[in-house]
Subunit: 220 residues, 4 copies
């Protein structure tokens, strides 16, 4: 991965000296947390959206592997009904999020991801998948021990969700080539921060191989 190409060697050395040196082990009960791959973010026709086709397609490959082995899949989407819109402090900062109205197509999960009925779509009004939502209880209910985070945007809701995932106690992996953003600079800067401090970085190919391994073991 070249995710941290933007970060110079000096910074890498400083982080090593500060002890940012650990990593996580993959477990046996994974979940894939798909952050805000709703049409509002993946359809360029929405002011908030942009073309995320490669990241969405790689995510589909991860999800297909997850479905084959029975891994937990959770989607989030940002949605504000009228009452929430009036109350939200965050919306005052980012007014365009107010177009994400329940029932609007922008709130729907991108259909290229093939969501099934048993995969919950958690509506949220904050940046983190965990804030003001039952996502952590849902992961605990499934006894998840490994969380893969991916989606949009890298520098916004993915970053916030990764920080919360590890804070909640889950070994956390950010699937770097499945994270999409509007702009390359923040995308790369946040992949660097996340992998340095909160999560292990991985690729969709690595995740698919890991999930297929689980699958054949189970099947075995």
């Amino acid at each position: 991965m070249t995710d941290a190409g933007a970060v110079d060697e000096h910074t890498r050395g400083v982080y090593r000296d500060a002890g940012f040196t650990g990593s996580f082990a993959l477990g046996e009960r994974p979940a894939v947390l798909v952050v805000d791959f709703s049409r509002g973010f993946t359809d360029p026709a929405c002011p908030l959206g942009f073309d995320a086709t490669p990241e969405v397609e790689r995510t589909r490959a991860v999800l297909d592997a997850a479905r084959s082995c029975g891994a937990v899949v959770v989607f989030t989407t940002i949605a504000y009904d009228e009452g929430s819109r009036l109350a939200s402090t965050w919306l005052r900062k980012v007014p365009s999020l107010g177009s994400l109205v329940p029932g609007s197509p922008w709130v729907d999960i991108d259909e290229r991801l093939g969501r099934t009925e048993s995969e919950p779509v958690v509506a949220k009004g904050g940046a983190s998948a965990f804030f003001g939502t039952p996502v952590h209880a849902l992961l605990v209910g499934h006894r998840v021990d490994t969380v893969f985070v991916l989606g949009a945007t890298t520098s916004g809701c993915v970053r916030a969700s990764v920080v919360d995932a590890v804070q909640h106690g889950f070994p956390t992996f950010v699937v770097q080539d499945c994270c999409a953003d509007r702009s390359l600079g923040p995308h790369e800067a946040n992949l660097f921060d996340m992998t340095a401090k909160y999560a292990d970085g991985c690729t969709s190919g690595e995740v698919v191989r890991y999930l297929n391994g689980l699958s054949s073991t189970e099947a075995g």
Copy 2:
């Protein structure tokens, strides 16, 4: 109020000696938190439901006063989509909650309460209105300083919501004659606990007078 008729004088003395002696002041920015007055609980045709007509009607009077003075009104409803149902630990304990499916009439707020579009309905999967929901952020966003809690059931979701409301830092009032339950014993026992430890007890008449006072002040 005779809410604690079931509690003997000895217990009241013990609580006084233990220092359960404080109370809250009414503020200027109230919210009414209507817990689970959905048809699943207020329609006896639902296995979870029972006749709560008097409590619903008194709640309507409180809500009309709240609407007149611009107080914040928030509804909660329990709802489980298929994915949440599979994950929920609480559902294993109370399987009948699984009938509260999004789109089913049991999830709708009782129409006798006259909910308007700008009053959010927060779906929850736990007992407390605050657990896994954005209710606290919504109250902070409106700078609420006074929370009235009422709804169903007294011994379940109202109790859990009252405990969380005060924990989150809000002066909390339980509107006793607007709290409904299936059975008198738990209803009375929980009103005693709540008013002894977490909230000031009040009646719908008192709340209406307070809200009308705010209203005329604003109007004044």
Copy 3:
């Protein structure tokens, strides 16, 4: 168990009809959550305290079994430093809690429980062991799948903690003969509510046998 002697048969029937019929399975990675067995509550010399000798002694037996098999043990204690005391809304309702000052003996865990250095003591300012604390992350970090709750008081912090434990997704068991309260009525009423709605009831003897079973398996 006779915990619900105070609850009449009619109420039991109503609850059965409403579908409060589920139960949990014991898992393999248990935690014992000891709620507020600090000297402020177990020493009658403190205004908040009362004699809880039998419950403390039975809890010691549970903890000894937990220590033998390597189960997670977590203690909570209520503590308010000066700044927290000024901010706490709950303290306005229960001013006597303000005597629980860090460094005071009332905040110390009852020494009869034999706490070891590796057993965290989580300070809290709310009723629930989970509110404003890292307890849920700590349980997730240990991949706990079974939570036993006990301590003081049954009708206060134990009840609030049990509700939060199941909401957070943990199969929850309340160890009834290890829960202590100031007054019998609220004690019994809350054991009924908890076991009807949120947790399976059990005795300290049952927990010890379960933990010993784990222990010998591990040792085996």
Copy 4:
């Protein structure tokens, strides 16, 4: 401010088009949230630490103004007792945080900030000041309507705290010249993200003037 010197004009245009255009109004009940200006981070003798003298001195000026007008001041510090250390998932990723042991000087708030007894020090085990802590309840208890966030490190705990502050519903301001980090790249990248998406940026001079204005009004 030149905080976003690292971010090119193209990115700024993309963000404008996406609707990241709002801002907050200053209120009347401010709090200053001082994130992790403990000696572990501000003393270069600690492996995690670095020289943050200018940021600490500017923070002292902000705090002196806050104290003059009675604004709420809250400090956070990272601390792990033995039990928390064993449980923490985040520590596996950043093992060096394990040196932040209660009682060690690294956990003490930098004495140059002149902390008083009534200013709470909230111990935390996560990145965000809000995660697993009572900070939000403390702010609600004081009816805070404006939160200034500053401290260390910009790209770590300050960022996480800013995201949570606005999610919890507080108009949030990041005091840019009071935020310190080990390395310039992540510092600047995170100031850009925070001010684009979650908080209004401001300088210590602006905060002091605002607080002095409150002060003279109150005194008036």
